[in-house]
């Protein structure tokens, strides 16, 4: 014990001398500095005694400890005071990690699971600060934010299409394929060059082919996609939005996404993320959102928030085998054994709003904790399982939630905003894009902002744009249209449309298909060319009062979109992507051209040359046919001809 205390004191002296050196000027060769670096140079002198290629000893360190400990005996009375000051001088990285899983049984029998992981870090990436020391926040994303002066970054990878009419609204919407939108800080001088570098670096980090994002599929929306974090100035020159509808999501994208989590996939809710079950689903979407946030209302210290979300909908018939009985093991082939030790909160929420008396389904094991949250304009009740409490895991030390259905009736609240899109027309020359927006509210009307980004090879005729609701013409109050330039940028159409209550609004525009150069076709041109989803953003009137106080106690899944008013909530709906056939040429044409040209040249030139250079002679007229045959016979017989 005494020896333990003595070595403990020695380490305290180390720390004390460390603080002493911090105070002194680093460049001075003070005595303590000399002692310190003698420990460093001694490896040089001791190298001949310890000739090992593998390790680098520092023998002198230990000896110095012993001598210093001898000196320490005289300074005993100073230590208690210095201990307190020295230990508190170690700066703490103020970061916080929370994880949540929300499970919502859907009326079609499918089950919707949504994972939310949030890291909140009190630091400032803006104003040229060099952030170098990371703890819970992943270093790769921090370096990307610093190098490319990013203010907000939102990237999502989705496989499948969200069926709003059957499943309701998702907590975090995402279009099929890959979507990336970024707000840059106003210190960036060349936004396009930075955008190009950023997409290439992100495609390396997420193992996705985001390097196909270039100027032909990037747009600069002027009204949609406002910043979701702190924003002083919104100059839309610093916003870029791009979508790749053709991108496929697979295990290769899930693995680097999981690597960004502090606990990895070893502890906490992330152990459930096994790719063989996650991709065996109707809908799978993973996203990363980075934005600066305010901690309190005065906003004195900015903090940066990293949210990783994963939404998955398991199909009743493929994953559930037709039986309406879901468990964590059936969905994810894993059960939970512990919470992530680095998480300050780790909870599972099950949506039991439609099940107040347990007449529809029952939850096993039962939990006494309940929580109410206002999410998507509705007040929902959730059963809460707190993984940081040992009692949640029970005697078997593992949590396998079971949801057993008792009856299959029940109705779903119709979603208030819903959209569809399709291509009409015939042939390969012209066509028409129809976008239908449904407002299912019985008596309230609201405005929606429609963003359409159409590639340049579908040449839109904006004079044929019509917006009709209930058969009558509906003039949008704001239209922003940026025409395309061939091979440089796509069409951008943004409109603010007022949707009357309980109606369908149809937006139609005619287009003409372009003929591309033969090297611009993909290897499978008859598959078609994708047109990205339309984005419809709206403030939808809510049935209950929304909570506008952005404090910490809100659940993660209800606090993503900032709430400014009490009577409405923000909704973003994505339509289907379109698959359009372009007129495809015959790819054997170059060979045909070569053959034709060469034949024409050979025949034409040859005959012309002949005419020019042949010398003409007089010749006897041709004898008749009979005489010719007779001559041939005579020749054969050896008799002179006629």
């Amino acid at each position: 014990m005494a020896a333990h205390r003595c070595s403990y004191l020695a380490w305290l002296v180390f720390i004390f001398s460390l603080s002493g050196i911090l105070v002194a000027d680093g460049q001075e060769t003070t005595l303590s500095g000399d002692h310190l670096v003698s420990a460093v140079e001694n490896p040089q002198t001791d190298a001949e005694t310890e000739k090992r290629a593998a390790e680098e000893p520092a023998v002198e360190e230990r000896r110095w400890e012993a001598t210093r400990a001898a000196d320490a005996a005289e300074e005993n009375q100073e230590f208690p005071a210095s201990v307190a000051t020295v230990l508190s001088s170690t700066p703490q990285l103020k970061d916080d990690f929370q994880e949540e899983l929300v499970i919502r049984p859907l009326h079609s029998g499918d089950i919707y699971a949504s994972f939310h992981f949030r890291t909140l870090w009190e630091t400032d990436f803006m104003k040229g600060n060099k952030v170098s020391h990371y703890r819970l926040f992943p270093k790769s994303l921090g370096q990307v934010i610093s190098k490319f002066s990013v203010r907000e970054l939102h990237i999502s990878f989705t496989q499948g299409y969200w069926r709003t009419m059957q499943w309701g609204q998702p907590y975090l919407p995402s279009p099929p394929g890959a979507e990336l939108w970024v707000w840059f800080q106003d210190t960036v001088t060349d936004v396009d060059a930075t955008w190009k570098e950023l997409t290439n670096v992100l495609s390396g980090i997420f193992c996705a082919s985001l390097n196909f994002i270039d100027s032909t599929n990037t747009v600069q929306p002027s009204a949609s996609f406002k910043p979701l974090g702190i924003a002083n100035v919104t100059d839309h020159r610093f916003l870029r939005y791009a979508t790749l509808p053709r991108e496929i999501v697979c295990t290769e994208n899930l693995t680097p996404w999981k690597k960004l989590l502090p606990c990895g996939s070893k502890a906490g809710l992330a152990v459930l993320l096994k790719s063989e079950k996650l991709f065996h689903s109707s809908f799978h979407s993973q996203a990363v959102h980075i934005r600066p946030m305010c901690q309190d209302s005065q906003c004195k210290t900015p903090s940066w928030e990293l949210r990783q979300t994963l939404n998955v909908v398991f199909d009743l018939h493929t994953s559930g085998q037709g039986k309406q009985e879901w468990s964590l093991f059936k969905m994810f082939s894993r059960t939970l054994t512990e919470a992530c030790p680095l998480a300050s909160s780790s909870k599972i929420y099950i949506d039991i709003t439609d099940n107040p008396q347990e007449e529809q389904f029952e939850l096993i094991p039962a939990t006494p904790l309940l929580r109410q949250a206002v999410v998507l304009g509705d007040r929902r009740t959730f059963s809460v399982y707190d993984l940081t409490q040992q009692v949640t895991f029970g005697t078997v030390r593992s949590l396998n939630l079971l949801i057993r259905w008792k009856s299959t009736e029940g109705h779903m609240l119709r979603p208030l905003l819903h959209a569809e899109r399709y291509v009409a027309g015939y042939g390969l020359q012209t066509g028409e894009i129809h976008t239908l927006m449904y407002n299912n509210h019985p008596f309230r009307s609201f405005s929606v902002l429609l963003l359409d980004s159409v590639p340049w090879y579908l040449r839109l005729y904006i004079h044929t744009l019509t917006v009709t609701s209930k058969g009558k013409d509906n003039k949008p109050s704001y239209i922003h249209y940026q025409p395309s330039k061939d091979r440089i940028r796509p069409h951008l159409l943004e409109m603010l449309v007022q949707l009357p209550p309980h109606s369908v609004t149809e937006v139609t525009v005619q287009f003409e298909r372009a003929l591309l150069k033969w090297t611009e076709y993909t290897p499978d041109p008859n598959h078609g060319f994708y047109v990205g989803s339309s984005v419809i953003s709206a403030l939808v009137p809510s049935t209950v009062a929304m909570d506008t106080n952005n404090t910490q106690e809100r659940t993660l899944f209800s606090s993503f979109f900032p709430c400014k008013e009490e009577s409405s909530y923000f909704v973003r709906v994505y339509t289907e992507p379109l698959l359009v056939n372009l007129p495809t040429p015959d790819f054997s044409m170059p060979y045909n051209v070569i053959c034709l040209t060469c034949t024409v040249v050979a025949v034409g030139y040859g005959s012309l040359y002949n005419l020019l250079t042949r010398s003409f002679q007089v010749e006897e007229p041709n004898p008749g046919l009979a005489k010719r045959i007779a001559n041939i016979i005579r020749k054969m017989r050896g008799v002179p001809p006629l």
């Binding site: 911090l22 670096v37 190098k147 250079t613 007089v618």
Partner: protein, 562 residues
Amino acid sequence: MATAEVERRRGQLAALSIAAVVIVVGVPLWWRTTETYRAWLPVSQIRELAKLQLQLSADVEVVLARGTVTPEQQKKVPLTQTREEEHAVDEDTTLRYKYETRYRTATVMEEDALNKPTAAEADLSLHTLSESPCGSLVLYVIPQSYPLLPENVSVYVGQRRTALLRVGAQAGVGRTLEQLLAHLEPHIKQALRVMSFSHTDITAALSDRVRFNPGSKESVADSMRAFKSSPGYEITFSLLNPDPKSHQLRWDIEGGVQTYIQPLLTKLSSLANFSIDSQTLYYAVLGVNPRFDNSRGAYTLNADSLAHVINPVEARLGSNAASSNPVLNFLLYVPDAHHSPLYIQDHRKQEVPSNAFHSPRWGGIMVYNVDSFYGPEAAFPVDININMAKVMGVFLAQLRLLLGVPSSPPPPGFLVAPRGSAGIADWELDRLMWSRSVENIATATTTITSLAQLLDQIGNIVINDNIAEQVSSAVNSLQLAVAELEAGNLKFALEFSKEAILASEKAFFDPSLLHLLYFPDDQKFAIYIPLFLPMCVPILLSLLKIASEARQRRRERQTKKD
């Protein structure tokens, strides 16, 4: 018959004129429209540079203190001697070392400084007197009587570019100046080998070009340890915590880096740009399971399994997403509660005192045992503060080795001064700069030479103007660097060599070089033959016919004459 003759003559003229048009107008037009743009490259200068003939010069000043020379000898001093050594490394590379030695006597102020009681103080006061430029050395020769150096030490190497050399007692006053200088010569040579460039260092720097014949196993390990020269380096410190449930670790990495690592990197800033990062990785386990050693009561990792430790961790370390500089990784591993304490054993089954090892050209790992901080009844997780002084000391030593600071032990009789707050002495920095300059020059020369050869051999690569510009600027910088090395201006030589490397790499890896690289010949013929063959065959045939007719007519005329 005359009309037939006229007709034939007309036909021949038509054929000849068509052939003339094709040859005079068609062939140059086709040639000009199908050639690739190739900007001019200074091929002759590149070939000259390929025969690398480097000359390294060092200025040495030998100051003779009072008591080493007699007053009559003092009159002959100051004098200058030049010594040249030539080594032909292989048929393309020759190295010449030039040492310009200047002898002079000590000034009054220097004598005062040399009268200090200890060598360290003398060193300090000598520094305040004069600043020697980069690459040069000052040797102070002191007589036996001075009490500066302890008994068994004959040379004291200072922190800057000075050394104190004690002349032996045999060099009595009766010797002539030449004998004295001849006696000093081997000591000066030895001092130069320690403090300035040595043949082994330089040939090791040229190891890309030249087959390196290692002297011993240690020199093989030494030559492979340091990172290759690069314009920038990333240094990443990672704290690996495989057991966050038991240990909650705190480390003041910012303070540690600021105090211990930053002074060294500031001093090395003329060599490369450094950028430092740190991160904490949880649930990061080593690749090997340590075995419990009953005799020591601890878990051990033996030297053979160390090679397998790094692999699973490296996948999680990540490199800088935003830069392409090589990364030096320093890992601090705190073993989990069930495998504590963990010690590293060397080949002789002895425990390594620093509990750390480094991997050449990769980085270093240190194992930090925390089991002594808490007892068995502690409430998990335990808060632990890591002692940065101990950790940073080990990492600093590993960093010096990985950056190539020469670490061979000094010869017997030499005492090397402690390094100072920056952790590196000026003469060590000079040695590093010599080898880096030579390495940069060799690499840039190889790159440029191979690029020139490639462009020469493959005729249809397009050489744009910007590539030609980069190549010219690289050749220019190389020539300047070689000239500066000859003159002995080490700093400028290093600058120019860095510029040369950047320009040569930019030219070599330019993506526009690949545009017409894979143009198959059979496709070219498949297009030309159906087009040109039907055109050229009739022309050729008619030319042949004209030639044979002319020959026949000449023969007829010959016979007619006879």
